[in-house]
Amino acid sequence: MQQITLLLTSLPDGILLGFVYGVAAMGLTLIWGVMNVINLAHGPIIALGMFGTFFLFIRLGINPYLGLVPIAIAGLLLGVVIYFTAVHRVINAPHLSSLLATFSVNMIIIGLATAALTTSPYNVDFSLGGFKLGSATILGTRLVAALIAILVTGALYLFLYRTRPGKFIRAVTNNRAAAELMGVPSTRILALSFGLGTMLAAVSGALIATFFPFNILSGGGYELKSFVIGVLGGLGNPIGALIGGLILGVLEGIIPTFMETSWVPVIEFGLFVVILLVRPKGLFGAKK
């Protein structure tokens, strides 16, 4: 009985967090789907999103949710810059090259940010109150963040399926050579996809900053979670990522009721390796 109460208190929180994890993973999996590149700079960009919220809210007093707009635009531009400096030349090279190229971006961002911001924790003191749902307390910030995550997913879906650049992105995902023959400007589309991926990372970071304290290294943990979610939902399948995020959130809600919280990462990464082995296309199939 006590365990059920515990489950009911921790599960809603896990689910709400899961949506936000899903947005971060969507960025990773979009980039993977379009260009077969695993973006190891994902973590630091999530962290930059967190700092975006910090500076806009604490220094300039802009509402964190309004601040998402400039953060998203900055994330998009940063992604395009990263694409042309680091990724474009190695896009057809073996995986090691693109992994190391994006990792070098990771080192550059972390190095500069550590020098400028140190690694001591930052906190965005922002609260929307909360309300009781049975035995669980739902925090307003988490509920709004989950709603925004759903909105972002919907917008991404509409963009990919209803607009011309979105259709181009899907065409390049399916077959870049064929898309080029049909007149799709593939370089611009690849840069746009990378930008969208980093934009989603930055937005998820900006949302996470409203719940937890963070520093420039905090993104790493969410990057690893994004790998797990991406593999759960199928690498290259952005909508699957949201469901993968939910699964991870639910797991994080359930596991602490029957074992110590510190075992959560063991289960997460164990599951990750098992799914890679058994169903590398993910639970819901890879890119479509």
């Binding site: 090691l96 190391l100 990771n106 080192m107 990464f269």
Partner: protein, 323 residues
């Protein structure tokens, strides 16, 4: 080819490593010995990774897991069961080898980025496991009792001894790297790297060859782990399984040239040297990570074959000496 010519490529690597070993012995300088220890450790780990990465073409992003796991097992026996450092190192090496064998049977089926992701997952899972495993001391890790060093003539003598053992391990890593490369087994690995399906058609039993390459690349890191934690006197999860060290090893191998014997040695030497310079320089010390990142990016973008690969490509005469 005459049989001695086949081993010509071993000359330069041996000379370089011998130079690193002799430098602190000749100058009789303790701080030089510490620097040399770090360089030798990097050389041994990078050369081991090269067997999998350079010869077989599988990108292991979590190779440090063998260093951490072997180190934990070895230190556990030294600490809790009073084994000598020799027996502890043997246990660590064997434990890492067995882990690699079991993992290899499972994850070497994955190719490309999927394999790389799986190795990251394994490293993180192992770190989280060590954090929870009471036998290994959980999050606190294990601290060696100072009296352990008495058997080796006190702490100072034990420190000196670890340097010589490290030198021995580095030479062992070098010899393994060379003999794998010049053997028929190594030729099979190179064939897998170029085209795994074609290699299988030509009679290379790829799953077995890959697994043994993985095991060979895991044993020395396991032993180095035991030695390093023995020298440091303690081990804890973040120190044992640092993901960024795995990637530093990749950088070293890339810098020098993957798939060559000399490449990882030069790469390790250059990387540690550069890092040492950046950390101590007034101008760069705050942004040393960024500078390393820029250097890595330039290498990946413009000389992906690494220094040795580039030289071999440009000056064909050198191919015999620079193996």
């Amino acid at each position: 080819m005459k049989s001695w010519q086949k081993h010509l490529g071993l000359v330069l690597p041996l000379l370089v490593v011998a130079g690193v070993v002799l430098w602190p012995i000749i100058t009789d300088n303790v701080s030089a010995r510490e620097s040399a220890f770090t360089i030798l450790k990097a050389i041994a780990l990078a050369s081991s990774l090269n067997i999998l990465l350079g010869y077989t073409g599988y990108v292991s992003f979590g190779h440090i897991v063998f260093y951490g796991f072997g180190g934990y097992v070895g230190l556990y026996f030294v600490n809790d069961h009073g084994w000598s450092i020799w027996a502890g190192m043997l246990a660590g090496g064997i434990a890492s080898g067995i882990l690699a064998f079991l993992l290899g049977k499972a994850i070497l089926r994955l190719r490309g980025a999927y394999f790389a992701l799986a190795t990251i997952g394994i490293n993180e899972a192992m770190k989280a496991f060590a954090n929870n495993f009471d036998l290994f001391g959980g999050p606190i890790g294990m601290v060696l009792n100072f009296s352990v060093y008495k058997a080796y003539g006190g702490a100072a003598e034990a420190l000196k001894m670890t340097f010589y053992i490290m030198a021995g391990l580095t030479f062992a890593a070098l010899l393994i790297s060379h003999f794998v490369r010049s053997s028929k087994f190594g030729l099979g690995l190179l064939a897998i790297r170029e085209n795994e399906d074609a290699a299988e058609v030509m009679g290379v039993i790829a799953p077995n060859a890959k697994t043994w390459a993985y095991v060979l690349s895991a044993i020395i890191p396991g032993m180095v782990g035991v030695l390093f934690f023995f020298k440091n006197g303690h081990v804890e999860p973040p120190v044992a399984f640092p993901l960024h060290s795995s990637i530093e090893l990749l950088v070293m191998v890339m810098l020098g040239g993957q798939g060559t014997v000399l490449g990882p040695i030069l790469g390790a030497f250059a990387y540690q040297g550069m890092r040492g310079y950046l950390v101590t320089s007034d101008f760069f010390k705050d942004i040393q990570l960024s500078v390393s990142g820029v250097v890595l990016l330039l290498i990946v973008l413009f000389i992906p074959a690494g220094a040795i690969g580039w030289l071999r490509h440009r000056i064909p005469v050198l191919r015999r000496v620079l193996a």
